[in-house]
Symmetry: C2
Subunit: 574 residues, 2 copies
């Protein structure tokens, strides 16, 4: 048993009501307990300089929550059923973002397993689960996690997560885990009792910045890199999604993200498994996914918010907040054919020039989506895109996504146009913090859309409301949406030009006034009509309909007449 | 006349006791005054939302100090004498760091001109002047500047600086200006009255961090880049030395330093002049001087602290503060043959791994020195290296510097081993600030070396003590040191292998126990004996003595017998 506490004068382990004095290695700041080993299932905690008990910073399990004792887990004891599984290249993936607590009625890893056949039917081969590390209370999005090595007790703890991943692998589904390395939650965060995990040099919007480059940061960096390694080795995770990397501040000559990608790449070769790292980045900086050899950090892909914002604002007409920077079809065209919309221009929303050209990158360096947990959950009513659009518009959005050079990602329930919202919910045990979160939410959205009732994040109902209603998925319109997604995914898998992610091979044509758009990818061509009126679009060539959202009014070798809010995908026969 | 004040509701220009209301361009946040132009010599200031008067953030001259009115300067009126001058490549330069206030008795630009012939005699072709931008009071190092466009009134203001640069150019000396873009001084800093020049996102050890990446940062970046452009165009500066770039925090996709180097490189091509940018960097990050095409910032060179620390600690035996990381001859060998000593190893002083291999870089990307204003002035007594060493050791240090692959830089007076110290001095007008600086200095060094009296930075005497005493330079030992430097510089200029900056061509041999070192650069070979005893060093080949600090005891084709604390440079005849 060991724990890092470089400035501590005394560290004790408490287990079975017995305190044991630990010994310090003064060179490293690690404390050890010789002649004593924890056994699988033992509950323990630490006293640091007579303060405590505090859970282990690297606790594998917090069965009683963030303030409770840690429970020791011997990962070697788990009996895996599927020792051989296939992780396809990221470029061939269709990702499904999922929140364990609301994905099913029960909200556990085990209950999620029962829905994997649904994902298989849809054509999904990657599931991305929102953060599972122990966070305060019994419900939450997970971004306030504090015991980053411990799968949340309410989801089913370590064994639950392992059973889930094992089942996914058994079905041919790979698993990406969302991890938060830019900050830790405010409640139950005992890290500073042990060492300098945080720094005052930088600040993040959510709390203290992690110490990635100040004194004694080597061990802090290891704390996060070892965490990544643990998910990959002990839990067999196939990929990581790094939350908000723009809040990972590091002036070191070797940036934390580069060090992480280097270690994970080495691990991948050692394990002979594909392992991917995806970043959520607000920087529009190609460096994040550029190879290390070319001066980049070498991550595999990053979320493409610009694509989302461009498509969302065209379809909804929304102009508030960051959508104020978007609205033109040319923005969407630019995203599809070069990655970023903002690659150096002035952003009104940011009040500064933003981004940089994504030269040398390709579509497979970007995750594309028409919604995600943030885009839905940060709206005052937690509305999905399907709540804001006509059926025709929704089908356009999905078709553009699947025709894009990006790696498509859906958010749970999107595939049937779920009527349930995905709201922001928390379960802070600290009453002051809980009240602050509730108030903050109300203030954030006050005057936004006065007709929408703002839910209190702390209320249990807000969480319950956000759970998927699986009964509705068979019903008429939802079944139609599900078929549309299924067909689109099948189409994407059937034609190699759709997974050819070179921007040079994406041809986009549009008319900003008439509001139509054409995306051509070798033999496959998509035409869509954003307007509420039928319109005729010139499009040469002999065509075979592959998919059409509505019955076409007419088409021939020269033009196509599209109904209002409709989209068609042809195979060009030439 | 214009000024940027994006959030102001009202801006007035005051000139000749008359206030004039300015008009705002709401798109840009700039305020203009039409139908009125300032004339050369006009005194003016601004009122912002009825607060003021404040000097112009871009003031060209503050004849009455940081709190006074700005004086308008029409740069086109200055009559330059030397319109054509030659700026040699940085790699062939010998830089002389100089502080205008203490370089001469009078402490002005004009009096400095009188000493240029001395520099020519020495063999200097680059002079680097410590910051001259208007700082509080009448004396100071200059790093607390607040009117970054205005040469200090006590040095001679804009015309004085121009006369100085013009005279340098007339003598074939190029001028590098030290500029501080990481923070501004605390006193007389009115920038925040005008706009968001600072951010709370980051913090620096010296005050608020400059806003390089937050909202409205585009104009803040322009403020600094335009400043660089002004020195180059209006003052004909040949190069910039950027102070402490590790405190320039910027998460933008295009880092400020890259944007700066890009603009200056374009300007250089437009003006058809060599212009260089040198960074003071504490990061040991090769990215700073790596080409932009290879993912770097594209600056020309950076100060090499590791080389200094390695050499200093070998010679003095000092082990306090950052010297605790050094002391071995192998450190010096590594610096000479690869640039950084710390290129990824753990630093005890920093308590973290530090730096990164300087692959692809060469010696000309580094400025080498055996002392500089900081290394001297931050010591409790402001002691130069010559105060700490025997004459023999001093000669060893200078010889190693001139045999290094780096660009050598001397600090004023070093060339004759000046007996005058260079202390930390300030002249804060704000009594509280002055007292805080005095106290801080005392505390910083308390218990450091109790035998050394700590001077009060605010006392006038501390400044006066630091002035060079030019009378001493002709005296025996000083004259001997001067000749040594002159000979070394001449040697460096005479043999092309000494300015061949490829690390691959630097061969270093040493013995950590016997404490000798050999540096071989093609035909030129240096041998030195760090010990207090004579010793014999094996060194094959027919040799001709080029320079020797002492009469050699004996040498032949196999070995060289060196007196204590001595160094010899041979030409190998093979």
């Amino acid at each position: 048993m060991k724990v890092w506490a470089p400035y501590a004068k005394k560290v004790e382990l408490i287990c079975s009501e017995k305190k044991r004095l630990m010994q310090k290695d003064n060179d490293t700041g690690w404390w050890y307990l010789k002649n004593f080993s924890l056994k699988h299932g033992d509950d323990y905690a630490f006293f640091v300089d007579d303060r405590g008990p505090f859970p282990d910073p690297r606790s594998s399990w917090q069965p009683n929550g963030v303030h409770g004792f840690s429970r020791y887990v011997d990962h070697s004891l788990f009996e895996w059923k599927h020792d051989f599984w296939h992780t396809p290249p990221l470029g061939s993936s269709i990702i499904y973002e999922c929140h364990i607590g609301t994905f099913t009625e029960e909200g556990t890893f085990d209950s999620a397993i029962k829905r994997l056949d649904h994902l298989l039917e849809l054509g999904i081969n990657y599931i991305e689960i929102m953060p599972v590390s122990e966070f305060p209370g019994n419900r939450g999005w997970g971004y306030d996690g504090v015991d980053i090595y411990a799968p949340h007790h309410s989801y089913g703890g370590p064994d639950g997560l392992k059973r889930f991943i094992d089942a996914c692998h058994g079905k041919g589904i790979s698993v990406i885990l969302d991890v938060v390395y830019n900050h830790l939650g405010p409640d139950g965060n005992y890290l500073s009792q042990f060492g300098p995990y945080f720094t005052k040099k930088y600040s993040t919007p959510w709390g203290e910045a992690v110490n990635f480059d100040d004194g004694d940061s080597d061990e802090v960096r290891r704390f996060f890199i070892d965490n990544a390694i643990m998910w990959i080795t002990d839990y067999r995770i196939d990929g990581l999604r790094l939350d908000a990397i723009h809040a990972i501040f590091d002036s070191s000559a070797m940036h934390f993200l580069e060090a992480l990608s280097l270690e994970i790449n080495n691990l991948q070769d050692h394990l002979a498994r594909n392992i991917f790292i995806i970043a959520e980045s607000d920087l529009n900086d190609p460096k994040i996914v550029r190879s290390r050899e070319a001066g980049g950090y070498g991550l595999d892909a990053q979320w493409n918010d610009d694509f989302h914002h461009a498509l969302h604002s065209i379809l909804t007409g929304e102009k508030n907040s960051y959508f104020s920077d978007f609205g033109k079809i040319s923005d969407l065209s630019k995203a599809l054919s070069s990655g970023f919309v903002f690659d150096g221009q002035y952003s009104n929303f940011r009040k500064k020039r933003h981004g940089r050209q994504a030269k040398g990158l390709s579509g497979r360096n970007f995750i594309g989506f028409i919604q995600n947990h943030d885009q839905i959950g940060n709206r005052p009513g937690g509305e999905r895109i399907s709540h804001l659009l006509t059926l025709g518009q929704l089908k356009i959005a999905a078709a553009i996504l699947m025709m894009s050079p990006f790696i498509p990602m859906l958010f749970q329930g999107e595939e049937w146009g779920a009527t349930t919202p995905f709201k922001y919910f928390t379960n802070h045990q600290d009453p002051e913090l809980g009240e602050a979160v509730s108030k903050g939410r109300l203030e954030e959205h006050s005057g936004f859309k006065p007709d929408i009732e703002i839910s209190d994040p702390q209320e249990h109902k807000t969480f319950i409301d956000s759970k998927l209603n699986w009964c509705e998925k068979e019903k008429n319109i939802h079944n139609e949406i599900f078929s549309w997604y299924k067909d689109l995914i099948l189409l994407r898998k059937s034609y190699p030009e759709l997974t050819d992610s070179r921007f040079s091979e994406v041809f986009v044509k549009f008319n900003e006034i008439s509001r139509w758009l054409i995306i051509k990818r070798s033999r496959i061509i998509l035409l869509c009509n954003f307007t509420e009126k039928n319109q005729s679009i010139l499009c040469n060539g002999e065509k075979i309909i592959l998919l059409s959202s509505e019955k076409l009014l007419r088409f021939d070798n020269e033009k196509v007449e599209l109904p209002r809010h409709s989209v068609v995908i042809f195979l060009l026969n030439s």
